[in-house]
């Protein structure tokens, strides 16, 4: 009789720990993904609500592996739904409302930091999946295996995805430099 209660209490404590540990990662991902604080809060909130619903099973099946990719997978799917919904209701494009520009002030981008401005411009032109992989790599510091689990691709496909994203950025940067 006592054991299930203590197990439940332990589960709740572990979920609280999960929240504390990953709230910033989830929010960073959401922010760079959806482009504004309002939607980022919604996405982060929905992610944790879904996570709580399936937390016990996720723990059981994780076999001791970190749960961050699982959380990001939830957020990834919710963000995809968000974009599907928005595509049916034409509003502003990502380019009109870039979270990257919001984070980096015009001053920072202009005042002798041409490289940052160029890479910002190049990132905005990346296909969605490449940009998402870069968010996970550089905003969250995830490795290829974690990213692969989060976006539902193989390790190899993820490695290629990131490699191509970086190559594409380097190409755009080189062209910009050559062009003056």
């Amino acid at each position: 009789m006592v054991e299930p209660v203590s197990t439940k209490a332990q589960l709740d404590r572990e979920f609280a720990e999960l929240y504390r540990t990953h709230a910033r990662d989830l929010y960073s991902y959401a922010y760079y993904r959806v482009g504004n604080h309002h939607d980022a809060e919604d996405l982060t909130e929905q992610t944790f609500l879904q996570a709580y619903r399936h937390f016990e099973r996720a723990q059981r099946e994780s076999d001791g592996r970190p749960l961050r990719p699982w959380l990001l997978r939830i957020a990834h799917n919710l963000a995809a739904n968000h974009y599907r919904y928005r595509s049916r209701r034409p509003q502003t494009t990502l380019d009109d409302n870039s979270p990257l520009e919001a984070v980096h002030s015009t001053e920072e981008l202009v005042a002798g930091r041409d490289e940052l401005a160029r890479v910002l411009d190049a990132v905005k032109r990346l296909p969605d999946d490449r940009r998402e992989a870069l968010i996970m790599r550089f905003a969250l510091g995830m490795d290829n295996r974690e990213i692969a689990r989060a976006i539902g691709r193989s390790d190899g496909a993820t490695k290629v995805l990131i490699h191509r994203a970086i190559k594409q950025l380097e190409g755009v940067m080189a062209l910009a430099e050559a062009g003056g």
Partner: protein, 106 residues
Amino acid sequence: MHDEERPSGVEPLLERLFAPVEPPERLGARVEARLQSISQLAADELDGWELAAMRDPRNWVRPALAVLGGSAAAAGLVLLGLQRRHRAGRHDDSHSSAQAGGGSGR
């Protein structure tokens, strides 16, 4: 490990570009409030359930799910509430200990 790609000039720029973003303080409270509303909906569903309908076993699934959803959400409330109280307690502790000129917090 990030040994799959050689470091390039772009990568340090990407690290600067994708600086982590702190969630707003209110986010924890928002999650807690949503869990509370789910819990309340589940309770309302049980309140509104007519006992007569319970004679048919086919109708047992819905209230059972409401109970499960409600208890799960309520538990979530507790854990996030504890987190906030813990934080508030720490704040109070530090505030009071600063006023008292020290003391041991938990």
